[in-house]
Symmetry: D2
Subunit: 380 residues, 4 copies
């Protein structure tokens, strides 16, 4: 019934996690088929993945620029799932061909690059998403809804964090296999000016912005390197654009946390709390009442949070569903735009290149503050 | 690379939850494509679903018997996702054509029917699964592993329950829309001799059996009908085949529970606890130590539990992944069997018709005990 | 200002836990001073404890019968904190002298004894309490209040349990020091016909009765001895006096539980859940709403639960406070009765000998059912 | 047997919470009797409390200076439980008479005052405690033990917070009764330069110092006043004396938190987490293992944490027990010092005036940083 779109992918070859996640999520969403790919810069590897996925050899590439040219007019969108240092060039190549793009975060390294990509995407009129996945979760959507309705009143403080344990062995002289696996993340050539803040810290900024509508106006950060070339931990004071205070903490050396993105939003009339590791629940406490543990797709959940529910409450949804929800909106946006139909709020409920650009700006401000003895730095 | 199988579906038409779940799980598993279906007994509805799914009209049916004959030799397997009263006939029709079957639970109504289907499947040499989904979860697999290794010693008591709230309005004279939706579940013609024990109580029996290897030898049950034609609640004393005691509770009138399947297994050396609503975690407490909250795909998880992990720990997997894990094994079993390859434990790690037969026997014993003032009834 | 009462104690000598708990709780309550005691049947030990507590030697005894006679008219009440086999004789001795009594549970061994003690206490017009401590907790009081108000509607099922791990080593041939410590509990001469059901199973019955007003009409029990002289585990089907069903589980071989008394009460309009190990919280879920985690002494708590609060919410109260709350009521009852003042509901908010008698009857029914292949046995 | 000490109290008159807490805790500890008091600056009120407590009228005062002189040589110690602005003068008056002191925190307003009091106490050779109660908890003691043993390796980040909700109505133009009750806390004349950081923020600093041995070397704070004369919220970057980073957050406008003191200490080999609101538990996660939920007085708990246990695990201890544990050490220290006996680590396991002085210095640094656009300020 609904038109099934065609998409290509750059990255996502053998051993990739995030490329697979995008493909599985698109399959779950069910609105697009993979038809072309540059899965690796080595043709042999790219063909191997293509074969596994049933992609024709003549639509398999080892050079993304070549792919962009060859596939112009044939793809509804492309997914960029490569290491960070190639995002800018990849995005640019496909946007220039007028191909809609969903890029893994971070959007790119430099603020100039980000601004250029956003401007170019407008010029070329392409739909340009950046995969901040947590905004795809039903309960972050419900938190957004409740805040927009004024259910927690005016926000007075925001606490948010993203803690992981997986790089703890970098602090150990006898480094483990885990660390070797992560070499590219901790290599400035591939990861840019930041590891921890860039990889997970920006998720804090984006998810808080999605849920609250607040953006960091300036930051005062203490960034820890522990003798490594890139950061592994950061404690950050935040002043939001409305003057409200917050603190953000991100860490890759925090034992016990796997993907510990957690938000606590305090307002004059109540508070909301959400944890990715238990993403089916949202704690909502109204002033003067007991905290309520709200669960996805229960009868008291409504709005976008209810719309995106796939299965009954108590049968858990997880990470793939977050991505799939984002692809539902992204592909609907592409389809309706192509058909000249009016876009609804649901069609636009996906993270965009502008959000990615804010992430890059935020990241630069944090790292700069860290290098300047935690002085406040404006997020331009 | 790996051969992609072809499958058909009976049921799963407009408004279906469970049919969709099977299709999404198979897509996530990625080992089979849907090519034929009898999605409804009304051709118009069946065609509508077929169209949405891209199934050719000439492989779309409104009569499962006709489909079984027409598709003989063309399908690697069929999924039966119809209401309970049709399972027996559907399974029989496809098995007779030598088509492998995955049937939703309960397998069928009568013990005779169950024994007949199992016997027939052996005669016809088909792979015959029954979808008890919770055995597909990584942490039930890890619980099974730890118990098999003797980590909790000899089992001394088993507490298990499956509580839901969704039929609470059946106790209210002014019944809500929820109740109307559930009419078929509470109609003996469609659901058989039981509603609550059949729909969710059998999941307790099966999941406990999967994890512990223990089967109820006899049961003494108090079954509550609250004036309705079928049961809505049951408290059950269990004596397992090794003489150990347990208690099972199932309810559809238990406010706050959505899909509250929960197991607590106590042994001479430790205990294990798992909840479907938080299915990423397994509590393991060794005698004399503090309880540990184990999480899916962490480094300390191994065996089948590690094999089935799809995404990193902390990025939640959920209900679809359980089904997908079962389909991974089921399709691998079919593929290797067809190729004459040896089957591994992983290939056989899916619930089988024999398990479904045990479920039917358990169900009959519970209902009979309930009707005989909670006298012990043997599970034959 | 308020009259400070004088009390004596039987038991509570060197090494005692429960005698100390009574003394500390009375100190916390602040309404009575200890002035006499028979702390041990060995005078030397009794004097040692007396000395530590500042009790005069001429009010220290090694024979409770002698104490009862000598202290007649001098004590406002006596606390019986001896092993179970002496409760009957101790209570009788003091009641006969017209001395008010607070006895540790169980009240006594036999049903006849219990009935005799209750009758005697009425004849002698003494205030006669039995220390079921959990009814002293603020949140069980709030649960009682909410149920009495109809907030969860008509009760449809009750799940309750009391699980401990401390006798797990009794299942191990190489028994540990823990087991030796517990010898009297597992000795029929001292503990009577039951260990586990008597020691902790009766707390389930009493706490459920306090909170819901429901009493077991009959029970069908599977009682596990694991080769020991007294029971260590029991799974119990319950039919309450209003026909509602429930299941009770008690165990002393359940690893991970220390004093795991837990109640879940399901009604037509909501549910309530309380755990002693986290006794500051009460989960309340109204039908159609999200569960609320209510905490002691928050603004939304009222009635007796609010009256008994000693310190602000979030600064935890615990076990001693439960006992102290019971002593607040018990001593107020004694004081007002002596003054001929009218007794309020608060004055009477302590467990009484009649409750202890019900506990003895319940215990006998459970053990009898266990010995008769789980047949239903009436609680007379 | 053990000598029972005599103590006096300043403060703790009608309506007091903290004075009562000290008295109840001392009663629970059982090592000292209250014999004198200046419970209010109004003689009538002071006498009313004295009468309720059984204190003789001739040892009841309305002027603490008079009391100090009159009671010199008669008291083993005095408890100062007055509003903050009188601590300095009270402490000084009693120390000058050579009377041992336990003062509520904060010790005093000014850094000079704190230094003077500490110096004076040394000159007069008095035992001088400051009641930071959380160090009295068994599980903070066990955290301290595990860290001292190196169980979590070198500390890499410290997250700690103390959140309350009770002043949220100060943000509301229509202020509630709660706010009126709290007037003195928010009045600079009584509370000094800070409300929130002084009242609860210093508990973070002290509890972290107790557990980890780390002290803030400098702080960069964002302090929120929301238009009020004193602070209600603060986000604080911390650099500890060993160079490690941390973040502290304190708030009195954080809905859902009652006394939400929480610590998370991350090290190279593991992490520890403790929450006052669930003070019986300590989460301990070793690198590469699953988190363990440790509970007070279980067999695996040892050292001071085991020594201070009063009742079995699972029967909760709470706030009073923390204070009582501190008084156990404080009184033992006084008794042994008077007897010329050697002091053990247990005798010295209570917070001292030096800790109070550090709290005052910390507080001043935070408030100063907040007034200087979050610049780093040294904690002198």
């Amino acid at each position: 019934m609904a038109k099934v779109l065609s998409y290509g992918m750059v990255g996502g070859g053998p051993g990739s996690f995030i490329g697979v996640a995008h493909r599985k999520a698109i399959a779950l969403s069910g609105k697009a088929n993979l038809v072309a790919g540059c899965f690796s810069s080595k043709m042999e590897k790219s063909l191997k993945t293509a074969d596994e996925l049933g992609i024709a050899a003549d639509r398999t590439y080892s050079d993304f620029a070549e792919m962009a040219k060859a596939e112009a007019g044939k793809l509804d969108f492309v997914v960029i799932a490569t290491p960070n240092n190639t995002h800018y060039a990849c995005c640019k190549a496909f946007i220039e061909q007028g191909i809609n793009v969903m890029c893994e975060k971070p959007l790119c390294f430099g603020i100039d690059e980000a601004e250029e990509l956003v401007a170019l995407s407008k010029e070329k009129n392409v739909v340009f998403g950046v995969m901040y996945g947590y905004s795809g979760n039903a309960m972050t959507k419900f938190a957004k809804q409740l805040i927009a309705e004024g259910q927690i009143g005016e926000i007075v403080n925001v606490n948010a964090e993203y803690a992981q344990e997986w790089l703890i062995d970098q602090l150990d002289p006898e480094q483990s296999a885990t660390v070797k696996m992560s070499v590219w993340r901790t290599d400035p050539k591939v990861s840019g000016i930041s590891n921890c803040v860039g990889d997970i810290g920006t998720h804090i900024e984006n998810t808080v912005a999605y849920v609250t509508g607040l953006h960091p106006k300036r930051v005062a950060a203490r960034v820890d390197y522990y003798g490594q070339p890139l950061d592994l931990n950061a404690n950050i004071l935040v002043e939001f654009n409305n003057g409200v205070s917050g603190n953000f903490w991100c860490s890759q050396v925090a034992t016990s946390h796997r993907n510990g993105l957690a938000l606590r939003i305090y307002g004059t009339k109540g508070m909301l709390e959400w944890h990715e590791e238990n993403c089916e629940y949202l704690t909502f406490c109204k002033k003067g009442e007991a905290p309520r543990i709200m669960a996805r797709n229960c009868g008291y959940v409504y709005g976008r949070a209810a719309e995106v529910a796939r299965i009954p409450s108590g049968h858990p949804e997880g990470f793939y569903e977050m991505f799939a929800n984002i692809y539902d909106s992204f592909t609907s946006c592409i389809t309706k735009k192509a058909a000249g139909e009016e876009l609804t709020a649901a069609d636009l409920d996906f993270p965009k290149a502008e959000d990615g650009m804010l992430g890059v700006k935020y990241l630069h401000a944090v790292i700069e503050s860290g290098k300047n003895d935690s002085k406040w730095v404006e997020v331009k």
